[in-house]
């Protein structure tokens, strides 16, 4: 049994004054997510990621298609006891304190009073908010709110977490903290389905990724396979523009800025190029292995879409 099984899910929104036009937001999406897997749902803004999550959460209704979560119909209220959801840039009742908010969501999820008493401090501690006390959420920073958001998604006994752009709008420190939290949940064996347009986050956390663009699934890739294809290229930066002529056939995408040159070189050519540069008297600044495979994969999949759809 899959954790999530989406079959031909489509959603069109009515547009225009008389609502006679239809704007497709999601077209025949089919994919499966294994239990315990961390699945990245990638796509540029407006690709259909949030629409997919809103459909799965029962916030909007599909135009066609269906989905199963842990083997049950996705609109079955009982299945919602097993899932947690963090919406994109969440806003919570700002007149509540963090413990009050968790108590409210715990009650809605059927967590008993006794269990809530035990779980609320533990959950707050797990997201690093044990000092939040009775401060109202309106006084929280964006990063703290995001952590409260994750806390509300895990307060009940959930098996699957749906996170919509969990790192968006956060500063580098906030992103790091949220990434650590997701990693902890991943280590605890939870199934995590998260949408993002930040590729480095997906690369760091995901087992598999799917790329969606203009409402259509463009491809699904296993991160390990994508990683194994990594490191075929390096980026070399050196000082001495005159040396470029000696290596111009061995490098790609050379960029010259004054005396500084930046170019990409295949890993097997790297030593030869470095030797030639040394002979030409160039000063080596840096050699960096390129790990842009996910980005390449993403760009390839989204540019395919551009080609398909003029």
């Amino acid at each position: 049994m899959y954790a999530i099984e989406i079959q031909n899910l489509s959603k069109s929104y009515q547009v225009g004054f008389w609502k006679k036009g239809l704007r497709p937001a999601l077209k025949n999406l089919s994919l499966c997510v294994e239990r315990g897997e961390t699945f990245g749902f990638l796509g540029p803004n407006g690709a259909g990621k949030t629409t997919t999550l809103k459909l799965l959460m029962g916030i909007t209704f599909p135009s066609s298609g269906t989905a199963k979560i842990l083997g049950r119909h996705f609109q079955d209220p009982e299945i919602k006891k097993k899932i947690g959801f963090l919406p994109e840039q969440p806003y919570f009742y700002d007149y509540l304190s963090a413990p009050e908010l968790l108590d409210y969501y715990g009650r809605l999820s059927g967590v008993s009073a006794e269990e809530r008493q035990r779980k609320i401090p533990a959950t707050l501690e797990s997201v690093g908010l044990n000092d939040a006390g009775n401060t109202q959420l309106r006084k929280f920073s964006k990063g703290m709110l995001q952590r409260v958001g994750i806390a509300q998604a895990i307060i009940h006994d959930r098996e699957i977490l749906f996170l919509d752009e969990p790192m968006s709008g956060l500063d580098p420190l906030g992103r790091h903290e949220v990434r650590e939290l997701i990693q902890k949940l991943k280590d605890a064996g939870k199934t995590i389905f998260f949408s993002t347009h930040i590729l480095s986050d997906a690369e760091a956390l995901c087992d598999r990724v799917a790329v969606i663009h203009k409402g259509q699934l463009r491809g699904i890739g296993v991160m390990n396979e994508l990683r194994s294809a990594a490191g075929t290229n390096s980026e070399i930066i050196w000082q001495g523009a005159n040396a470029l002529s000696a290596v111009v056939r061995d490098v790609t995408e050379p960029h010259v800025t004054g005396e500084l040159v930046r170019a990409t070189v295949a890993r097997e050519q790297q030593d030869r190029v470095l030797e030639k540069l040394r002979q030409q008297g160039a000063v080596l600044i840096s050699v960096t292995p390129l790990h842009g495979t996910l980005e390449e994969y993403f760009l390839a999949k989204t540019s395919q879409a551009e080609a398909v759809q003029p």
Partner: protein
């Protein structure tokens, strides 16, 4: 079901209680009651009449304003701020959300009415002491005002379930005004002809009959209110509110949220 309903109800109540606007309105009513004697320097009876009329009208008007003011945002605010997303992703049925919100606002209005009633009776005691048996009858007038709150809250929630806050406020207030004059609408129908007659009749039955819930003048003049009327009004308010809430649920169940 009950724990989820009570969670939504209590959270709605808590939100209203922590909303400072609510306190301002209560203070305003209390100031209004305190200033009542300034308007009536004629005789004790007139003073009582003025105080009862002003006090009960203020309880009604301010309750209706609070009902509309909070009611228009009950659903739309949760959609705009996306707090509804985290609610609907839990085992909460959409009808539970609507009914919980309704009960939360009714609880708020009830609490508000209790405080205003205490303030009103305090003012009454201060200016017309001792209190008489006729003063206890004023509670029937307040009970009818509470029934009025049940209806106006349901109506506002209905509009809030599919319309923007501004339109919800306009529709609800318009319906409150028309409902207040529903007896006149019925009289108009009786003296009309043709399509106008039936249109006026239909409208008079569809709009809430706030006229029959208004016994302020009657109780202010120490006239008794028939038991049958209390029963009829109670049944009417409960049925009307339940029907409107049912329509709100049916609309909300099918609604695609942004």
């Amino acid at each position: 079901m009950i724990p989820r309903l009570s969670a939504i109800t209590s959270n709605t109540f808590r939100e209203a209680v922590r909303d400072r606007v609510l306190y301002n309105l209560i203070i305003f009513v209390l100031i209004l009651l305190a200033s009542a004697p300034l308007f009536s320097q004629i005789s004790i009876d007139i003073e009582r009449l003025m105080l009862v009329n002003l006090g009960l009208s203020a309880i009604s008007i301010f309750g209706v304003i609070i009902a509309i003011f909070i009611g228009i945002g009950l659903v739309s605010k949760e959609i705009d701020k996306k707090t509804l997303y985290t609610i609907l992703s839990r085992p909460v049925r959409r009808w539970e959300f609507i009914v919980g919100k309704y009960l939360g606002l009714v609880l708020t209005l009830l609490t508000n009415a209790v405080f205003m009633t205490i303030g009103f009776y305090a003012a009454l005691y201060l200016y017309t002491r001792p209190l008489s048996a006729a003063d206890a009858r004023l509670l029937i007038g307040i009970y009818f005002i509470v029934l009025e709150f049940l209806i106006i809250t349901a109506v506002t929630l209905l509009f809030s379930s599919f319309s923007s806050p501004i339109f919800s406020a306009l529709f609800s207030f318009a319906l409150f005004v028309i409902g207040t004059f529903s007896e006149d609408l019925r009289n108009f129908a009786a003296y009309s002809h043709g399509v106008g007659k039936w249109g006026a009749y239909a409208a008079s039955w569809i709009v809430p009959n706030f006229a029959s819930l208004n016994v302020i003048s009657q109780v202010a003049h120490k006239q008794p209110v028939a038991g049958a009327m209390v029963l009829f009004n109670t049944a009417y308010a409960l049925l009307y509110s339940a029907t409107v809430i049912l329509i709100a649920v049916l609309i909300f169940e099918r609604r695609n949220l942004k």
